[in-house]
């Protein structure tokens, strides 16, 4: 690894042939529109683009929509519900990609306020997926005049969709020559559509690379122009294959060109109210971040060694929770590799500044071998999933795979987890060189991990199988007689078809629910309860765990309704937080969110209102799953690897812990028992407890024992639309 600090402005230039590429564009549709600026966070207008028929339609956002769905994920789900039928498949033309930033998105006085939420029917799960993503696209879309963008249909050829606010034009152009890979096309389109160098920061590009063409785990890259680095940086809408849907629609890119950002483009109801809490949290970050999470220097990568210390870092497909070589990918490594001292916010005014970048990476493999690039990240999830979970503890390889995942438009979380699964299949003889086309998937083989990724991008070899995700890999391996489906079901870390994100949940029943009782699949952005449950022991009863699995998913849903990032909620805390009654909730920051929501919209938002707003959308999403044939208890069942030790090696790696639990909690003396019997006893106990957790959570959420929202619940929440009522009644709710 190089020890010299690279020049952060030096990287391979991809814009030399820009004019040639521009000349090859053919305008398929151009329509004028009247730009507008939001009032109190809303334009009360959305945009629908039909790529099949090349038609652009403005829609009115009604007050009823705002009252029920708020914005962001809520708007996305509502539009998707109306656009699709119960049998719409992910690659049917009527499936939509909906992008909505939410009413708070775009303010600049509070950190973490530039998010967009992407919603679509997922190719992995067959139910709605929602992704919370940074970058400038969502806020600029809003400042052009639209609260939401629906993309429906399929283009006949590769197109770019431009929304140019200052010119009041929407254009669909055939774009045949630009490479699809995001680190190139984001750069090209940013320069192509900016009105000179000072305008680059007002352009944002959404794209997905070649990996999205040949896999179900495609992600979307949302760009933001980094004026210091002079580069289009990337943030990912990662989960559930939204990039796959995007490329299936023959979208090469979405481009928005917005106005110059000013302090009050949202025309908020009470700016002073927002500024007041904004100045307080900005001072907290300035004064306390270095002693707390050090986000400004390390981003979420600060968590790598923390998770290792608590036996929570996934190692070798979640078999273990720590590893002696974690030091090689820990925060101090990234502290040196990230360029320090320049702003790294993915939206204006974010003083947390955690979108770290590793500059000067010289690409070692694949089509960009030898190029010098900036790698966005790695974040914790990438270090944990792509590295530790695959037994790879080399920072240079981590940068390499992180770079290629992003530019190919491949979700790093799903890719890390599915590689780990494949490597364990190799360990257990389910895969071998003949079955992988010659790839050696021994733990730690970084070259093979890279090659699978390149195969995905090229659409060939074992990469085509791996890119289908773990659920389909299990089916394929089983159908071909390669392995025992029961074992693969136990060790394949997916629920609802979505791969797990990167935390060990074996010793936290609440987190087992935090993953598997989610609406979209096991992503930690609903609830992260491991410390509260496993370390603090604050959730001793099923009811206490159920309460946490009611409150936190709803609280965190609220960020996605408003266009907010979660990190400034609890990756920084006020100096006096310890003195609060419920410090884990960071009450002062909850108050801040009430203030900024009230200050933007003029609607008085309380901490109770936060839960009420979220609960409508959360339950609507559950009913949406139900509409598609899912959303019941059977769909909330986790793989046993996330609950307890599957194999003898796993049990024996923590014998003292499991034996002690057997004696003290189960009431069975483990002495003299063979390991297989102890595994079976532990499994029965833990699965019984998980089932009881489901009962408690469903009851707290107002659902039946089968996980269906009751009629009483949907009426109380005001989401008792005729189709919802019919569905719930039919489902025993």
């Amino acid at each position: 690894m190089s020890t010299m600090t690279p020049d952060y402005t030096v990287r391979t230039n991809y814009t030399d042939n820009l004019e040639e590429m521009r000349a090859a564009h053919k305008v398929l549709l151009e329509v004028p529109f009247t730009p507008s600026e939001p009032q109190r966070g809303y334009n009360m207008r959305s945009l629908h683009i039909d790529l099949t028929n090349l038609k652009v339609t403005e829609k009115k956002v009604t007050q009823e929509m705002v009252d029920t769905f708020v914005g962001g994920r809520g708007f996305g789900l509502w539009y998707l519900w109306n656009a699709t039928t119960p049998t719409t498949k992910w690659n049917d033309p009527e499936n939509e990609i909906v992008i909505s930033p939410g009413p708070i998105a775009g303010i600049t006085q509070y950190p973490g306020t530039g998010k967009s939420i992407v919603v679509a029917i997922s190719p992995l799960t067959d139910i709605p997926i929602d992704c919370n993503v940074g970058g400038y696209y969502g806020p600029l879309l809003k400042f052009c005049g639209f609260d939401c963008l629906e993309l429906q249909g399929k283009a006949a050829s590769e197109v770019v969709v431009l929304i140019d606010g200052p010119r009041g034009v929407i254009r669909i152009e055939e774009a045949p020559l630009e490479p699809a890979d995001s680190h190139i096309c984001s750069e090209i389109f940013t320069h192509m559509y900016a009105d000179g160098p000072t305008d680059l920061k007002n352009v944002s590009v959404v794209s997905a690379g070649k990996g999205s063409d040949h896999s179900l785990i495609g992600c979307l890259n949302f760009s933001f122009y980094d004026a210091k680095r002079k580069a289009a940086r990337l943030k990912q809408a990662g989960r559930g294959g939204v990039g796959t849907v995007f490329r299936d629609k023959k979208l090469k890119a979405l481009v928005v060109r917005g106005p110059v950002i000013k302090a009050d483009l949202n025309h908020v109801a009470d700016r002073a109210r927002i500024q007041k809490v904004g100045s307080v949290i900005n001072k907290e970050i300035h004064d306390l971040d270095a002693q707390q999470c050090n986000m400004k220097r390390q981003g979420t990568a600060h968590l790598v060694e923390v998770m290792d210390a608590y036996d929570l870092l996934p190692v070798k497909n979640f078999q273990y929770g720590n590893h002696p070589d974690t030091k090689n990918i820990a925060s101090w490594v990234w502290d040196k590799r990230f360029t320090q001292g320049i702003p790294d916010g993915c939206w204006y005014g974010c003083t947390m500044s955690c979108s770290k970048g590793a500059d000067g990476h010289v690409v070692k493999t694949g089509p960009y071998k030898g190029d010098i690039v900036t790698v966005d990240g790695p974040e914790y999830e990438n270090a944990a999933g792509l590295a530790a979970n695959c037994g790879i503890f080399d920072p240079d390889w981590l940068l390499e795979v992180n770079f290629y995942c992003d530019t190919y438009g491949v979700d790093t979380i799903s890719y890390g987890t599915l590689c780990a699964f494949a490597m364990e299949c190799w360990q257990r003889g389910i895969l071998n060189a003949e079955r992988t086309g010659g790839l050696d998937l021994t733990w730690g083989n970084a070259e093979s991990q890279m090659e699978i990724l390149h195969q995905i991008a090229r659409g060939e070899g074992f990469g085509l199988i791996a890119g289908q995700g773990i659920r389909k890999m299990k089916q394929i391996f089983s159908e071909r007689g390669w392995g025992d489906l029961k074992l693969m079901t136990d060790i394949g870390m997916e629920v609802k078809g979505l791969e797990y994100s990167q935390y060990q949940s074996k010793e936290s029943l609440a987190q087992q629910g935090g993953y598997a009782l989610t609406n979209k699949g096991p992503q930690h952005d609903e609830a992260w309860l491991i410390f509260m449950d496993m370390v603090n022991k604050h959730l001793p009863t099923f009811e206490a765990k159920a309460e946490a699995l009611h409150y936190f998913p709803l609280f965190r849903t609220w960020f996605g309704l408003h266009g907010l990032c979660k990190l400034p909620w609890n990756d920084i805390e006020p100096a006096n937080n310890a003195e609060q009654a419920e410090p884990a909730k960071v009450p002062e920051h909850v108050y801040n969110y009430c203030e900024i929501a009230s200050g933007v919209t003029g609607l008085e938002v309380t901490k109770e209102k936060i839960i009420e707003q979220s609960e409508k959308v959360y339950n609507f999403q559950r009913v949406f799953n139900l509409r598609r044939g899912y959303g019941r208890r059977e769909h909330d069942w986790p793989p046993y690897r996330s609950v307890g030790p599957v194999t003898v090696e796993e049990y024996e790696s923590r014998t003292e812990r499991y034996d002690k639990q057997m004696l003290e909690e189960i009431g069975v003396d483990p002495a003299g028992k063979p390991v297989e019997e102890k595994i079976a006893i532990t499994r029965k106990y833990r699965e019984d407890r998980y089932s009881k957790l489901c009962d408690a959570v469903y009851k707290r959420r107002g659902w039946t024992t089968d996980g269906v929202p009751t009629m009483e619940t949907i009426k109380k929440l005001g989401i008792d639309f005729p189709e919802v009522v019919e569905l719930v009644q039919k489902s025993g709710g």
Binding site: Q291, Q292, C293, T300, L303, E305, V306, M307, A309, Y310, Y380, E381, S501, Y503, H524, D525, W528, L529, F531, M532, V535, N536, K537, H538, L539, P540, A544, E547, A548, H550, Y551, K566, N570, D571, E573, N577, A578, E579, A581, E582, P583, A584, K585, V586, E608, I611, E612, R700
Partner: protein, 83 residues
Amino acid sequence: MGEPSGVPEPAPAAQRPGRIVVNGDPLDWREGMTVRDVLKAKNYIFPLVITTVNGTLIPRGSYDVAVVPSGADVKVVHLISGG
């Protein structure tokens, strides 16, 4: 709207001298043991923690000097972070 209580279970009673209880689990105690020593012994390296000793809040700046008495009930509340 109900919320998680956030109230931990009472610590085990009758802690014998020479031991303390940390988040409900026993830990060997030694003369002069500080809060920092307790965190090290438990490998609690997460920075966002709130520590009380027998119910008294210990400021983070005092972890190196705050002495934990024998038999103490120590609570190290880890806040939520990540993702």
